[in-house]
């Protein structure tokens, strides 16, 4: 059974239809890249999958591990293993990163019938992940994303990815605004989390990150539809020929 099956997905915000019939199948062990120009609906797709309430699904279906994903509230999707790395990570004023991450971990473990982690075990795990993603250890003592630089916020998303070990990771422009070192660290973090039983969907405007994370499939999203799919070479072609080339080809 595929991990994720999206069929003819239509989604709107207010009266505006943004996704106009998306079809996509993702199997465990695969890495997919979704590319497309700004405003094409990439973030919308990722957020609809994570359950952001502002979007209304007007048509179509999403099966996740054989279940109706759209019927689940966002926290249940997370507990079932969906993780969205936000394009714009949110600051949580006054909420300590440590406390937040522990609470997230506990909620997810509880859902899976696992025991709550002791503070000590959690600390050990967190420190391990902090080192892996080369994030400043001071950041997890601070309030979540509050006063973090753009790059720190993105790395903090990767820290959460490493910690929560999702089955389906959706990375929304995690590469944007990163310098080359940060990009390498983020990509390493993603590559390390690649396993045969999970899948990663990399949403990006630029091909750059795909030099580090080699996708099995590349899809081009334009005006709310996937207009072209191919292998890793499609990303390179897009890089050299631009999105206009696809636009012309489909119209």
């Amino acid at each position: 059974m595929p991990l994720l099956v999206i069929r003819d997905l239509h989604a709107s915000i207010g009266d505006q239809e943004i996704l106009k019939g998306v079809d996509l199948t993702v199997n465990a062990g695969e890495v997919h890249a979704i590319m497309g120009p700004n405003g094409s609906g990439k973030s919308t797709l990722a957020n609809v999958l994570a359950g952001r309430p502002e979007y209304t699904v007007t048509k179509g279906s999403v099966q996740y591990q054989g279940h109706d994903l759209l019927a689940m509230p966002p926290e249940q999707r997370a507990r079932e293993g969906i993780f969205l790395a936000f394009q714009y990570p949110v600051e949580l004023p006054g909420v300590r990163a440590w406390q937040f991450l522990k609470a997230a971990m506990d909620a997810q473990r509880q859902h899976r019938g696992l025991e709550e982690m002791s503070a000590r075990d959690f600390n050990r795990l967190l420190q391990e992940k902090v080192q892996q993603v080369e994030i400043d250890p001071e950041l997890v003592k601070r309030n979540v994303n509050e006063g973090f630089s753009g790059g720190e916020k993105k790395r903090n998303e990767i820290l959460q990815l490493a910690l929560l070990e999702p089955k389906l990771a959706l990375l929304d422009e995690t590469d944007s605004g990163l310098d080359i070192d940060a990009l390498r660290i983020v990509a390493e973090g993603v590559n390390r989390s690649r396993r045969p039983d999970n899948a990663i969907v990399v949403v990006t405007h630029y091909q750059r990150i795909l030099n580090y994370i080699t996708p099995d499939f590349v899809h081009v999203l334009m005006d709310g539809r996937i207009v072209r799919s191919g292998g890793a070479e499609l990303a390179l072609e897009l890089e050299s020929r631009g999105y206009d080339w696809v636009k012309e080809a489909v119209s």
Binding site: P73, L92, G94
Partner: protein, 452 residues
């Protein structure tokens, strides 16, 4: 005059009873003080929200003025709360000095003093006015003048008991002084008039917490006055905690006087009470005085809380930090009137005041009016007020990590509250407050605003 008498007939009778039954030991100056205050109350009466009365613009005390209350003249003879029960009513920790008052009267049986330290007097007022009048009289009713305030006049007219703390120059009170004012259930609604006087001598240090609490759910009226004198170079840490019954009327007046290079830190926590008024005025009357006044209020149902906070910089080089935060649920209403005054002489003042509110329900309401009155030219002053809902985008971020709506919002509300709770230095008190407020965080009727 006759009209006034009938208007406040209940108080008049109670006043007569208090004066005629007073023990012989009551000093004449105290009788005189009460009589003057009573006479002033008869002239002033209770305030009304009439035009031009800015101090009472948003709060109507007619429910207090029109109700009848009985005044317990002495400690209730019948069933008193047990020591174990009293401990659960407020904060406590080993080693603290605990003074417990039941219906306004000192309860020796429930109080514990772990031994006297030299230069430190911690006593109940009705005893101290007799045993150490030379320490009490020069300060009592000096900071809290009753000339313009009906509630202070009424409290002073009924001044009988309360707490007295005196720390001699350069002494440090060794333990937290924990004052607990308990109002018990009775057949008729009660009125009580607790009084607190704190005198910290030059270079002294003292920490105290005042808690006003009731195990009952019923109506009563509690009218408190707290006077705090912070001597030159002294350091006073103060906490005020309202845990009144949901039906209670609480009117509290606090007056603080600060000398040169003194430090005063206060944190107020407000829960309970149908109507609570917190009139808190600090006078920085010495060069280089430094004050921090924080507050946290959590209101639900149809509660009404009114904060009138004044910081008066009268001398140069003073610093003040005023931070009040409100969490409002249900149909509750909060009023914040903050005034920072910088007088002509108070050059180089550094003052900041902020009121932040988190509205959890569409029916909750806040009127926040921070203001600055600056008459000096070389000062650094800032003020601001905010009111907002929990942000939908923020909650979604937390949900996307597996937290449910209730847990996420409780975490955010708790984080909002913690900015104030964390200012409390004494760890057992801080932990107590943290527990108190995390339990109280409402999870229902949350409304989210904001756009992604």
């Amino acid at each position: 005059m006759t009209q006034t008498l009938t208007k406040y007939a209940g108080y008049h009778e109670a006043f007569q009873a208090l004066e005629s039954s007073a023990p012989k030991s009551t000093p004449p100056w105290l009788h005189e003080l009460r009589r003057q205050a009573w006479s002033r109350f008869q002239q002033l009466g209770f305030p009304t929200a009439r035009r031009g009365n800015e101090k009472w613009k948003y709060t109507n005390v007619a429910p207090i003025a029109s109700a009848a209350f009985s005044h317990p003249a002495a400690l209730p003879s019948g069933a008193q709360p047990t020591a174990g029960r009293v401990k659960q009513l407020g904060p406590s920790a080993p080693g603290w000095t605990n003074l417990v008052f039941v219906d306004g009267h000192y309860s020796p049986a429930l109080s514990t003093q772990p031994g006297q330290a030299p230069g430190i007097v911690v006593d109940n007022l009705s005893k101290a006015t007799v045993s150490s009048p030379q320490l009490v009289q020069p300060h009592l009713a000096r900071q809290a003048g009753f000339e313009d305030d009906g509630f202070i006049a009424l409290n002073t007219a009924f001044l009988q008991d309360g707490a007295f703390i005196h720390v001699a120059d350069n002494r440090t009170a060794p333990a937290m002084i924990n004052l607990l004012f308990v109002t018990t259930e009775g057949p008729t609604p009660k009125v009580t008039f607790p009084r607190v006087l704190v005198v910290a001598g030059k270079g002294s240090q003292v920490s105290l917490v005042e808690t006003y609490v009731s195990p009952a759910k019923s109506r009563y009226f509690i009218n408190t006055v707290t006077e705090i004198v912070v001597g030159d170079g002294a350091n006073v840490e103060h906490c005020r905690l309202l845990l009144e019954s949901p039906e209670a009327f609480h009117v509290g007046n606090t007056r603080v006087y600060q000398g040169q290079d003194s430090t005063f830190t206060s944190a107020g926590f407000f829960r309970g009470a149908a109507l609570a008024r917190n009139d808190f005025q600090v006078l920085l009357d010495g060069t280089g005085a430094n004050c921090t006044v924080n507050g946290l209020y959590l209101t639900t149902d149809s509660q009404h809380v009114d904060h009138l906070i004044g910081i008066d910089h009268a001398k140069p080089h003073g610093t003040s930090r005023l931070l009040y935060k409100g969490i409002l649920d249900g149909k509750s209403k909060a009023v914040f009137g903050g005034t920072v005054m910088v007088r002509k002489d108070a050059q180089k003042t550094d003052a900041r005041q902020t009121d932040k509110n988190l509205l959890l329900s569409p029916d909750a309401e806040v009127d926040s009016k921070p203001s600055l009155l600056i008459f000096a030219d070389d000062v650094k002053c800032a003020h601001g007020a905010t009111a907002g809902h929990i942000d939908a985008n923020t909650v979604f971020y937390m949900q996307s990590r597996g937290l449910d709506l209730a847990t996420a919002s409780r975490m955010l509300i708790h984080a909002f509250a913690r900015e104030v709770i964390d200012t409390v230095q004494a760890e057992p008190l801080r932990d107590y407050l943290d527990g108190l407020f995390s339990q109280a965080m409402p999870a229902s009727s949350l409304r989210f605003g904001g756009t992604p």
